[in-house]
Symmetry: C2
Subunit: 207 residues, 2 copies
DNA sequence: TAGATTGTTAATCGATTAACAATC
DNA sequence: TAGATTGTTAATCGATTAACAATC
């Protein structure tokens, strides 16, 4: 496998294509970049470039084989095998994430939660047990978990992240609205609702 | 007010600056772009350009007045006055969003929820009542609500969005993983967890 | 005054879009 | 074959970074 350097915008569009392709009737074998582009309001060249980054190649006059394209995108995203994940900070958001059973499709399986609130410890949420935060590093090592999800308040996020990294976590999905300072080898992806809201309310203001 | 065209990346960074500035000790009156840039690992020029887009101007040799900068960013984002919002699709995610009391800081106030599940209707979540979806358009009109939040499954998102627009909703915060097709006057901002996960798992795959 | 920091103009970088030969 | 659609190279667009005169 050669190391294709794919741009972040491309990476963000691939899951959209994937869902779109999965929704296509099984009767349809081929789809053209022009068709996809039209449905997304993208440029056809951009669609072809995006798809090319997965290694899938199309056929002139026909387009892309829908099923192979689905497989190629899933493989490229790493969604063809599932990573176990721990989530720290068991509030409403974590409960929602733990209750959402479709992450497995996206290569993620939340296997347990962690908190410091004694009233939560020992409980199960959607069959995922909640442990005390003290047990995090030991369990990360024992279970070889590579992904950590942070849903604690902003003030605790940095120390939780450091604890995760110490235990051996390699990638962090961070829902806290701060910039984590971690060794560069650790993969961090931030979900920022406030940032998304900024775009919305700013546009709304000018209406 | 002149129409400053500000880039999306800039718009996404402004909330980060805002939170950062609010965390600064009240003893500190001025902060330099170099200091901010350093803490975010950004380029100082970029920080100055971002801040300039809010209309705030700094002082040579001193930097930016922290408090006026906070005010300027809040005003620019439209977070100095609050928009009421309705949320449709009362599952775990909606419950989390309705339970989160800090959106008011971001100019958003969720005032009611809507669903079609009879067992939910009439209930209150964090003092926000749940109504039947049938009542949506009437209530949008009566209460002049401009913002709608979509947390229904993907298959229902388009029709819910159309219902919102019909009622008079002007901006939609969409958590469903599809591309809504709406008149261009309607502001749409998508929150896509799968997209964020794509970036994470793809990086993880190459580790 | 000297020099730190600003705002702005110019250069660079990267992503999107246009053009087009190759091909099925 | 003719022509629709591909993959790729070149042009454009927009955002980031570098350079630097103005200024407090």
């Amino acid at each position: 496998m050669d190391i294709r350097k794919v741009s972040k915008p491309t990476l963000r569009r691939l899951p959209l294509y994937l869902r779109y392709l999965k929704n296509i009737s099984p009767d349809v074998q081929y789809i053209s970049s022009a068709q996809i582009a039209n449905d997304f309001n993208y440029d056809p060249t951009q669609v072809r470039k995006d798809l090319a980054s997965t290694g899938e190649i199309g056929t002139a006059r026909k387009g892309f084989d829908v099923q192979s394209l689905i497989n190629a995108i899933e493989k490229f995203l790493g969604w063809d095998n599932v990573n176990d994940a721990f989530i720290v900070g068991i509030g409403n958001l974590a409960t929602a994430l733990m209750g959402f059973n479709h992450f497995v499709q996206y290569g993620l399986n939340i296997v347990a939660g962690f908190d410091v609130d004694q009233s939560l410890i020992g409980k199960s949420i959607n069959n995922k047990k909640v442990f005390h935060l003290e047990e995090l590093t030991a369990l990360v090592q024992r279970m070889h978990v590579k992904v950590g999800i942070i849903t604690v308040p902003a003030d605790y996020a940095q120390s939780v992240a450091e604890l995760m990294v110490e235990g051996g976590i390699k990638a962090i999905w961070n829902f806290a609205p701060i910039e984590l300072k971690l060794p560069s080898r650790v993969v961090v992806e931030n979900v920022r609702l406030s940032t998304s809201l900024a775009v919305l309310t700013n546009k709304l203001k000018n209406l």
